[in-house]
Amino acid sequence: MADVLPYDVAAPEAAARLAEATRAVEAHPREKTALLPALLDAQHVLGWLPRPAIERVAAWVRVPVSEVYATATAYSELRLERPDPAVWHVCTGVACDLAGAEALLAASPGRTARIDCQFLCALAPVVADPHERLVGRVTAEGLRARLGAAPVESPR
């Protein structure tokens, strides 16, 4: 995900962001096989998949909106809700659990959420920042320092 705030329907630049996402969607062929690539590109621009983006994709690849929703909900990395730009995700997979993931969650209540294995198990414990950048061998102090250093990028 790019270093931008998740798309906000009420923000002044909302129309421009949606137009950019639409351009990304319409760069794909108008075929059903482009469904997932188009959704991924829209999410890349917007940070998540608001209803208007789903509708753009549906119209472009000629698939009913309901079917696009059915598909989008099946992929864990597609986000149908606006992500909280202040929340860091703590991996609670087995290797990270052994390496103290619970202590990381306890050290930063309210600013962290659980997430499954991030496939960086050899550098456990692992957290993902709000831009999905992975940080390995995280300590509770290190996480608190990072949370303090990372400004919350929008009103919560």
Binding site: T33, A95, L98, A122, G136
Partner: protein, 490 residues
């Protein structure tokens, strides 16, 4: 490999300048970036002064434990410096000037991993280090002979199900074309990080494997389906496909062979999305759920065409099967309670056992309670088994988490069961209803033992795909091996 370059390969190599023989490889990539290797690169460049241009950014070489790390390469010499966040950089600078012994602490056998983390990202460098040598030979042989070589080497699927690769290629080749190849690099099994390392660190290995399979099975079109989170792997594969296309490797003009069209795609998560028929649906734009089989993909797969679906490691291993191949190897992503977690390439030679793997990772087997092999679809391995030679059939995708003596087995078992329940796609009843039920029964596993066994039997027998089919496996394994732990947890 004893084989030497064909004239066509020699011509291809001759088109590129030879890469520098002396350099500092900084292992960047996903692992390095997660531990701020970027800072090390800057300090190193400054320390090297006029020789700063010898710094090459490359991927993790499998020694994830060593990150942030750099390897100094001089002719005939390699020396890796680990944990540069803790160690002074002067030693790296001195080594580049010639002052260090060859103390390469590699991560096991150097087969599929030979070039991983040792390339500068150019095709020239990959060629200089042996890429496309196997393809150059394969295309001088008839497709049948290539399949025969794959058969003789005993190559089997590395994606978990261990299907005989030569047979899969033959089944597809027997059907009328155009035929398809789908490369399964979705790698969504928790604890597994092998394919992304190879793709990130040596993407030409995969493309070479694709081209060998294409020649052998008469493939017209290949789709490489890469895990959506593995962005560095995706970027590396995209670049390598472009390089290979521009060099004439994909249309057969450089080395020979059939022309093949290669498309790269990203997945979007979900454990079940690594199941082969789900990938087919995903590529077609259908809902990502498993298909009923038959028809098998080799008869009617992607867009109803005969389709070979292979794991990325399987195709990479296809580059090692020619002329007196060494014993097969398996990539073992290893994490947990060990001093040197990372990606190991282990010979499956009838001799090597878990004790050898643990030794490579610096683990003392006496401090290990068990291994978790295969994550949420796997089982526990007790120390009694550590000296039994490894068998490819039992390795699955290869993911291992080393569990320490004080591990809370019931807690891990419940977590694995809960993971399967979350990841169930809901398409079939035994798994949709059974996986959450299993989680509930595990709240008092000792009391519910009979119900758990009965439920697992139904899920194993009646699930549509192996997510549900194997969801009971780690639970059954834990209950069989550690009954006292569950009794104590009541």
């Amino acid at each position: 490999m004893s084989i030497v370059a064909t004239p066509a390969l020699a011509r291809l190599r001759g088109r590129f300048p030879a890469p520098a023989s002396t350099r500092v490889l900084v292992h960047r990539g996903t692992c390095g970036d997660a531990v701020d290797v970027g800072g090390v690169v800057e300090v190193l460049r400054a320390a090297l002064g006029t020789r700063a241009s010898s710094v090459v950014e490359t991927a993790c070489d499998g020694a994830c434990w060593a990150a942030p790390a750099a390897t100094v390469v001089r002719p005939g010499h390699r020396h890796r410096f680990a944990r540069l966040d803790r160690e002074p950089l002067e030693a790296v600078v001195a080594c580049l000037g010639g002052a260090c012994e060859d103390a390469y602490a590699g991560s096991g056998e150097r087969g599929l991993l030979a070039r991983v983390g040792h390339l500068d990202g150019s095709l020239a460098d990959a060629l200089a280090q042996g890429a496309y040598l196997a393809l150059a030979h394969a295309v001088t042989r008839k497709p049948d002979e290539v399949i025969e070589a794959v058969q003789r080497a005993g190559l089997s699927g590395r994606g978990g199900a261990h299907f005989v690769t030569a047979q899969k290629w033959r089944l597809a080749a027997a059907n009328a074309g155009p035929r398809m190849l789908v490369v399964n690099a979705e790698e969504g099994e928790p604890g597994v990080f092998k394919d992304r390392h190879v793709l990130e660190g040596d993407p030409h290995r995969l493309i070479e494997g694709v081209l060998i399979a294409a020649h052998a099975a008469g493939i017209a079109r290949a789709v490489i389906y890469v895990n959506g989170q593995a962005r560095n792997a995706r970027r590396a594969v995209d670049l390598a496909v472009t390089q290979a296309r521009e060099a004439g490797l994909l249309d057969g003009s450089a080395l020979g062979g059939t022309g093949v069209q290669i498309e790269v795609r990203s997945g979007a998560g979900g454990y079940v999305c690594g199941e082969e028929s789900v990938i087919l649906n995903s590529i077609e734009g259908e809902r990502p759920v498993p298909r009923t089989k038959p028809p098998f993909a080799t008869d009617r797969g992607l867009f109803d065409r005969p389709t070979v679906i292979n794991n990325a490691e399987t195709l990479c291993a296809a580059t090692t099967v020619f002329d007196d191949p060494p014993p097969p190897t398996k990539l073992i992503p290893l994490s947990g309670a060990v001093p040197r977690p990372g990606l190991y390439e282990v010979p499956v030679d009838g001799i090597t056992a878990w004790s050898g793997v643990l030794a490579m990772a610096g683990a003392n087997p006496q401090r290990v309670r068990a291994l978790l092999l295969g994550g949420p679809s796997g089982r526990f391995v007790l120390p009694e088994e550590f000296d039994v030679p490894l068998d490819m059939r039992g390795l699955g995708a290869g993911g291992v988490v080393v569990l320490p003596l004080d591990v809370d087995i019931p807690r891990i078992t419940r977590a694995l069961a809960a993971y399967n329940a979350r990841e169930s796609c809901g398409e079939c009843t035994p798994c949709r209803e059974g996986t959450p039920r299993l989680v509930a029964l595990l709240e008092d596993a000792s009391a519910n033992r009979a119900q758990i066994d009965a439920l697992i039997e139904v899920m194993t027998e009646a699930s549509l795909c192996q997510l549900g089919g194997l969801a009971g496996k780690p639970v059954a394994s834990a209950l069989a091996l550690f009954p006292q732990d569950f009794e104590a947890a009541r």
